[in-house]
């Protein structure tokens, strides 16, 4: 796990521009992600800029999400982990209050892409 995550991480760092690490979700589309977030009602629990009605205070606010260092305080905030987490949080953080949410792999990628697009 460590070796793998280090290799993945290093690949990301190596291609990051001067401003630092920029997470990019392969196959994710931020525009579709915004739509998916509205449909899946993520805003019931999270504050999400750009999504009407997303004012929830149950979970943490998701503004500037790509600057967060960790996901759920347990995992490095990198695309592969986030894609998994938005869809099946309990598999990565068994004690989390966030439920698994039914969505396709594409939807998960889109959602992650949108979250990473937030300034």
């Amino acid at each position: 796990m460590r070796a793998l995550s280090s290799v993945v991480a290093f690949a990301f760092v190596a291609c990051a521009h001067e401003g630092g690490y920029e997470p990019v979700v392969s196959g994710g589309d931020a525009k579709r992600g915004r739509q998916a977030i509205a449909e899946l009602e993520c805003g019931a629990c999270h504050q999400i800029p750009g999504v009407p009605g997303a004012w929830g205070r149950v979970g943490p606010p998701l503004a500037e999400y790509r600057h967060n260092v960790y996901i759920a305080g347990k995992h490095p905030n990198v695309p592969d982990v986030l894609v998994r987490f938005v869809r099946d949080a309990p598999s990565l953080a068994p004690d989390t209050a966030m439920p698994a949410i039914e969505m396709s792999d594409t939807q998960a990628r889109d959602v992650a892409a949108y979250l990473y697009s937030l300034e």
């Binding site: 796990m1 995550s5 290093f10 990301f12 690490y21 260092v69 490095p76």
Partner: protein, 285 residues
């Protein structure tokens, strides 16, 4: 006609007088704040937000500019990550903490607080990390590590830092265990190249000025050790040895060896630096 010439000049004079008045007023009010003791130097009094943001931005701009010429070597070489982890364990975790690992007590109440490096390493390119690690940060607790860590291992530390944002607690513990046999190398003679030509930096990096007042070196007015001013007129080194270059070097390198029970500790000063110091002192008028 004359009014045509005089009016603008009068304006300039008035403006200059006004500006001068403002400067004087500013200096006066600053003096009042300073002398009254109203300004708090307590580490419990945080900077204003604007001051904090300005210091942050200043650091960023300075580092960006100063690190621009730095060439990053291959950071994936064998053993680099483990060596970097060893350096981190030895010199960094105390103030910066690690994933799931608390800072030592001294690192918790610092002002400014030492940054969480998982964040810094996520946002800063390797050359910035190298520069800050090597040179330290003035007016913070961050020393210039180039004097304690060999250059290769400054880069090992950077190699480690670039992975840090992507480590879980368990990753960190695993690496900690895997790197148990690695050590962080010190520079052979405290980066002699970097110090060459500026003996004042040499004195400061061995903390000489913490105890001695030294001719030409800005520092606290310390009286722990004797003042090192007007040194050529002194007859003895530590009241024991005749004041010659060689004796001075001997004492600087091994105070208690020369003078048992001396309260001056051995600071691992190398031959080259001891000679630089001795010559500087013996040349000071």
């Amino acid at each position: 006609m004359p009014s045509f010439i005089h009016k603008p000049r009068r304006k300039v004079v008035l403006l200059a007088a006004g500006a001068l008045g403002l400067v004087v007023l500013g200096a006066l009010s600053a003096s009042v704040v300073l002398l009254s003791g109203a300004y708090s130097t307590a580490a419990t009094t945080q900077h204003f937000k604007i001051t904090h943001r300005l210091l942050d931005a200043g650091l960023r701009f300075s580092v960006r500019s100063h690190a621009s010429g730095v060439k990053v070597p291959d950071l994936a070489r064998e053993g680099m990550l483990e060596r970097g982890a060893a350096c981190y364990r030895m010199h960094c975790v105390q103030c910066h903490g690690a994933p799931g690992v608390a800072r030592h007590p001294a690192g918790r109440g610092m002002l400014p607080i030492a940054s969480s490096l998982a964040q810094s390493a996520r946002e800063w390119p390797p050359e910035w990390l190298y520069y800050v690690t090597r040179k330290g940060v003035r007016m913070s607790g961050m020393p210039a590590w180039e004097f304690r860590i060999a250059d290769e291992d400054l880069w090992s530390t950077v190699a480690f830092l670039t992975r840090l944002p992507f480590m879980t607690h368990q990753d960190y513990l695993d690496l900690h265990a895997e790197s148990a046999d690695f050590s962080c190398r010190a520079p052979t003679e405290m980066r002699h190249d970097a110090l060459h030509g500026d003996v004042k930096v040499v004195f400061r990096q061995y903390a000489c000025h913490a105890c001695h007042r030294i001719e030409g070196i800005v520092g606290p007015k310390s009286r722990v050790g004797p003042p090192l001013v007007d040194w050529p007129r002194r007859k003895y080194v530590a009241g024991v040895l005749p004041n010659t270059e060689e004796n001075l070097i001997r004492f600087i390198r091994d105070p208690q060896g020369v003078s048992p029970h001396s309260l001056m500790p051995k600071l691992d000063v190398g031959e080259v630096h001891a000679r630089q110091m001795a010559r500087y002192l013996l040349a000071s008028e």
